[in-house]
Symmetry: C2
Subunit: 213 residues, 2 copies
């Protein structure tokens, strides 16, 4: 990539130094805002640059591509650390802790809408789905599977994730009643035992290892 | 609506009589094809009319609006009857029957891609989500809830549906391994007991009736 953006009038005009981490943060903020409001398909490097008050070449310099920008936006959006935090503790109540933390995040005034935006983007666009999938596997399912003392930990974490994902779709995205208006405590009580069973129960998954990958 | 389409040269050219149910079917087929390949947002009355070889006014005559056309397309797409069929039988194995039929449909060469298209459309577009939600509640969750002899039948059916929906997302849309490559039999064995628990197990949902609607 050439570096004509170093002398870009726009960047100079706004008095932002291109190498400045603050500039990177401004771009990322503009990108998250755009992905949340316009989705993955409706977001362009050009529009993000305009919103951040920088040259499009500078966005490319920091992030390289729209996909990488989206990946960074998910990173800056997904409260992965807050889920990981809930893993700690005894294995018998892992399901309950995960469900409670998950519902809390979806109902959080800041995290909730961002999670919804990421899920929207991922279901609407194959490229976004691929990115979300990679991130989810690496940063969320990996650590959860890592704490399990049972066989087929990956499949177990994934089954639990499938229930949590479907729950969010029904309750927070599609908002289907009575599930949407049930108190979170009741939902957690209804769902946690199933999650716990996936994580540590008997699942007859013996043949998984032999299944084609 | 005026009826100039009655004398539309295009309709005459193709030798289709506007009142003909076959014409309606051709339009519906073109609409399903478009919703599947281009999604809800990418589908227009005009393009569907062109693909069906009729005047756009004729599409409006039969369906009234893009939303109604989408609703009819879902109707013509969702194998509701095949799910309902699986309800029949003893209540203790209802979970297993539903899961098996559901996985079979997703893996069916004709039904599978259509289900994926409907789910895509619904997650990408609020209007499509609203339509899917109504149809799902009325034609799928209603009948399932109706067969349950337990309290809170609607909430139970919905919890089961949330697991099935999340499973389809992970396995068929996001295609996350090892869940995506597990044999359907193993997935069914892993998931069915949780579905069964939602439908007929102890859920401590006593407070649901008191929850705000």
């Amino acid at each position: 990539m050439n570096s004509t953006w170093l002398n870009s009038p726009m960047a100079e005009e706004r008095g932002r130094r291109p190498g400045n981490p603050q500039t990177r943060d401004s771009i990322l903020e503009a990108a998250i805002e755009s992905f949340v409001t316009r989705g993955y398909g409706g977001t362009t490097i050009r529009a993000v640059a305009r919103a951040a008050g920088v040259d499009p070449a500078l966005v490319m310099h920091f992030f390289g591509s729209k996909d990488k920008l989206f990946e960074a936006a998910i990173h800056g959006t997904m409260p992965v650390a807050l889920v990981i935090e809930a893993i700690g503790g005894d294995e018998e109540h892992l399901g309950e802790r995960l469900v409670r933390r998950y519902l809390w995040l979806w109902e959080h005034p800041v995290h909730g809408p961002k999670l919804a935006a990421v899920l929207h983007a991922a279901t609407a666009t194959p490229a976004a789905a691929e990115l979300l999938k990679e991130l989810m596997s690496r940063e969320l399912l990996g650590p959860i599977a890592g704490t399990l003392s049972h066989d087929h930990a990956e499949a177990r974490a994934l089954l639990a994730a499938s229930q949590l994902l479907g729950l969010a779709l029904m309750r927070y995205l599609l908002k289907v009643d009575p599930l949407a208006s049930m108190p979170a405590d009741l939902v957690a009580a209804a769902v946690a035992p199933g999650i716990q069973r996936y994580l540590t129960g008997t699942l007859s998954l013996a043949e998984i290892a032999a299944a084609p990958r």
